[in-house]
Symmetry: C2
C-alpha cells in the first residue's frame, strides 16, 4: 500500500476487499491503534479504524487543508440600529474544529472566527466578543465558575450590552450554569450555549445554537441565566432551559440537554422566542455578584455495596458538605447510618438527592428515609444532584450556622426547587 | 383541639381555617415534625403535615384498622391444566403495606397474602411462592444478589417451574437484574418485578405488574432475565426491559423504569405479550449458575472539582476495580490523569461510563478521551454505569489477567452492550 503519511488531512475514498466503500478524512495514527490500521474521520464526525489488510484501494477525493486556509478574517462592523450583544468564549466544541494536520480537535477558533463561520449573527446584533479562557469543560473547576461570573459581571457593568452569550463546552455546562445562576443577579439575559458537534462537521449544531442564543439574549423582556441548546435532533428549534434544572442526558446527540423536573422556560424557533412560563423581566434585578464558594464539598453516588470506609474517608478529610445521590425517594443502605451520624455530628452537612434524576426525594414514606431525616440529612426536594453540589458550595460560603444552611438549601434562589402544592 | 392519639390509623377529614379540605389517614407523629403539626397520609399515598393552628375541624370518616384485619387467608388450589409459576419474594413495596398503627410501611405481606390481594393470578397459573428474604432493596448488598441467584437456580432445578417471578424493591432492582443476568443461564423466563406504590394505595401498580410478570413468565418462547414494570402512568401496559439495560429514572412515578440505549424487549398488555426483537427461546440455554463476584469494586461519579485525594483513597484501599461515571463522551479532568495512571499501574482496572446515561462513550473524539485511553482506561461503550459496576465485580472474580478483563468488559454477555455498525 502507498505511503499515506503525506496524505493526512485529505478526504479519501477507501474500497475494502469485501467491497465496502468508506469515505472520510484520513487522520494521523491514533496512539492506541496498531500500525495495521488507518484512521478515517467519517462525515458524521466519528473516527473509525480500518484494518490495512482489508483495504483494496484508497483514492484522494479532496484536499481540505487548502480550503481551511482561505478564510479571510475581518472585524465585524457596528451598526447603530442594532442592539449590542457580548459573546464571552470559554472553549469547548463550539469554539473548536478538527485540526486536519494533528488529528486532534483544535480548540482555537477565536470569537472573530466564530462570527465569520456564522455570518447570520451579524445581521441580528452588533457583536463584540472576547475569550475568557479556552478550555474543554471537563477540565473546569469551581474556580473557573468564579472567573466566568466575574467576567460576565465586568462585561455587563462596563460595556452595558443588551445581553450576554457565553460559549462553553457541553460536558459540564449544566454545572457552570447552576453556579452562575446562584452567583449573579442580572438585569439582562445571560445565555450559555455550546455545540455537541464541531463547526466543521456537516451535522454541527454550533451555528443554530449560537443564533438562537443571540435571539434569547435580544429578548426585550427576559433577564435570567439560562442554557439554549437544540431541542430535537433536527435543526428546527431550541429550548431555553432554566440554569439550575438542566442536564446533559446524551453523550453525543444534538438534543442532549433536557430540562429536568420542570418545563423548559421557553423555546426559540427561526421566527421567534416564546416563553412557556413567567420569567424575570429586564432590569427586574439589579446587577450584583456573589461569587463565593466553599470548595470543601463532595458528591457521592450510592451503589449497593458502598462501604462505610468511603464515607469514613470523607469524615477524615476536611470536607464540610456531602451530597448523596441516593436511590429512589432518597435512600442509602442502613449499613451507612452510623457513619452518616458521625459525619453530621462532626458538622458535615449531608444532603440527599436521587440517582433516579427525575422525581422528588420524599424521605417520609419509608423507614429508611425517615431514619435518615432523623439523623439530620437534608432532603433536597427535586433538585438535581449536580445543582445541589454547586449550591451547597455556595451556601457554605455564606453561613456556618447548620440551621441557616438547611434553610438556604431548601429555599429556591434560582428555580432549583420546583414548588409542589403541599410540602411536609 | 381534641386528643388525636386515639384516632391514629383512622381516615379523617380536616377543614382548615382557610377552608381547605384535606382527607386522608391520620398518622403517628413523624419524628422530625414539631408537635404543632398533624401528619395525614393522602389518598395518593404521600404524607403531608398540617399545622394544628390552621385546623378548624377534624372529623373521622372511616376506621380502616378493622377492615385490614378481615382478610381471610387460604392456600391457593393447584389445577393440573395450568402451568406452574414460582414466585420468589425478596421484599420491597410490592410486598408491603402501610401499617396504620405504627405509621411505617410494613414489609410483611407473605406471598400467600400477595396472591390473595391479586386473585386474578390464580386463574393464570398454579402459583407456588416462597420468601427468600424480606428487605427493602436499598439495603441489599452484592451478597444478596448471590443469594437470590442461588435460590432461583435451586427453584428451577428442583421445582421445574414454567417460569420464575422475583418480587423486589424498586430502588436497586436494576442492579440486581444485571447481576442475575450475568450469573444465571436459564431455560425458563426469570422476571423481576416490583411496585412503586404499596398495594393498599389506590394508585398501586403492584397488581398489574405482578399479573404482567406472570404472563411473561408463561410465554412459550422466551427465557431471559428481564424486568417487567408499568410502561406508562396509566394501567394499560408494561414493558419487558432487558436486565442489564434498565434503569429507575423517576423517584415515584409508576413508569419509572426505562430501557436505556436499546429498545425494550417487548410489551405486555392485558391481552398479550409481544416482543419487539429476537429473544432467547425456552431451553436455548441450559440451567447454570456462575455466582462469583469480587466485591473490591467502587463506582465514582465525576464532578467538577473532584480531587485527586478521592482517587488516592481508592489507590490506598484494597480496590481492584473502579467504574468512573465521566462527563459526555467519557471524560474526567486532566488533573486526575496522574492518579489514574498510578491506579492502572497498580493493577486497578479503571473503566469509563457516562453520567449522561443515554448515549455511548467515545474516547477517540477529544484529546481528553484519547489521553485516558492511552492510560489504559476501558471505554464501556453504551453500558450503564450501574451495569458496568456489577459486571466488573463478576469479571474480576473470573480472571486476574488485565487483557482478559478488558476483553470480557467489552464483550456483551447479557445484552449489556448494544452493537453499532463500526467500532474503532
Amino acid at each position: 500500500m502507498q505511503n499515506l503519511s503525506k496524505e493526512i488531512g485529505k478526504k479519501v475514498r477507501i474500497e475494502t476487499i469485501d467491497n465496502e466503500i468508506i469515505s472520510g478524512i484520513l487522520m494521523p495514527r491514533v496512539e492506541l491503534l496498531s500500525e495495521d490500521y488507518v484512521t478515517i474521520k467519517l462525515d458524521n464526525g466519528y473516527n473509525i479504524g480500518v484494518k490495512k489488510s482489508r483495504i483494496k484501494s484508497i483514492s484522494i477525493i479532496e484536499d481540505l487543508r487548502k480550503d481551511k486556509l482561505s478564510v479571510e478574517l475581518k472585524k465585524p462592523k457596528r451598526k447603530s440600529e442594532r442592539k449590542n450583544i457580548s459573546i464571552l468564549a470559554t472553549g469547548g466544541t463550539i469554539a473548536s474544529k478538527v485540526d486536519y494536520v494533528t488529528g486532534g480537535v483544535k480548540a482555537a477558533i477565536t470569537p472573530e472566527e466564530l462570527i465569520l463561520s456564522v455570518p447570520e449573527i451579524e445581521d441580528l446584533a452588533n457583536i463584540s466578543s472576547r475569550e475568557i479562557f479556552n478550555k474543554f469543560s471537563e477540565n473546569l473547576k469551581p474556580e473557573d465558575w468564579i472567573t466566568i461570573a466575574k467576567e460576565i459581571y465586568k462585561e455587563i457593568k462596563k460595556e452595558k450590552p443588551y445581553g450576554v452569550v457565553v460559549t462553553h463546552g457541553t460536558d459540564t455546562m449544566a454545572y457552570t450554569s447552576a453556579a452562575l445562576a446562584f452567583m449573579l443577579k442580572t438585569p439582562v439575559p445571560i445565555v450559555l450555549t455550546g455545540a455537541q458537534r464541531s463547526s466543521d462537521r456537516g451535522s454541527s449544531d454550533a451555528a443554530l445554537n449560537l443564533i438562537h442564543s443571540i435571539k434569547v439574549a435580544l429578548h426585550p423582556s427576559f433577564s435570567e441565566v439560562c442554557v439554549v441548546m437544540h431541542a430535537t435532533m433536527s435543526d428546527n428549534f431550541s429550548y431555553i432551559h432554566p440554569a439550575t434544572k438542566v442536564r446533559k442526558l446524551h453523550s453525543s446527540r444534538r438534543d442532549a440537554f433536557k430540562t429536568v423536573n420542570a418545563p423548559p422556560l421557553g423555546k426559540v424557533s427561526s421566527g421567534k422566542v416564546e416563553f412557556f412560563q413567567e420569567v424575570k423581566e429586564r432590569n427586574e434585578d439589579k446587577l450584583s455578584l456573589d461569587a463565593r464558594l466553599d470548595r470543601r464539598v463532595i458528591l457521592l453516588k450510592y451503589f449497593p455495596g458502598m462501604e462505610e470506609k468511603l464515607l469514613r474517608f470523607v469524615l477524615n478529610s476536611d470536607y464540610r458538605g456531602l451530597i448523596l445521590e441516593g436511590t429512589g425517594l432518597g435512600h442509602v443502605s442502613e449499613d451507612l447510618f452510623k457513619v452518616l451520624d458521625e459525619l453530621i455530628s462532626s458538622n458535615v452537612i449531608v444532603a440527599m438527592c436521587s440517582q433516579t434524576i427525575y422525581g422528588r426525594v420524599n424521605m417520609n414514606v419509608y423507614s429508611t428515609g425517615r431514619h435518615l431525616l432523623a439523623l439530620g440529612v437534608i432532603p433536597c426536594e427535586d433538585m438535581l444532584a449536580e445543582t445541589a453540589y454547586v449550591k451547597l458550595m455556595w451556601v457554605l460560603a455564606h453561613t456556618k450556622n447548620p440551621k441557616k444552611i438547611r434553610e438556604m438549601m431548601l429555599t429556591p434562589y434560582a428555580r432549583e426547587i420546583s414548588e409542589r402544592s403541599l410540602v411536609l
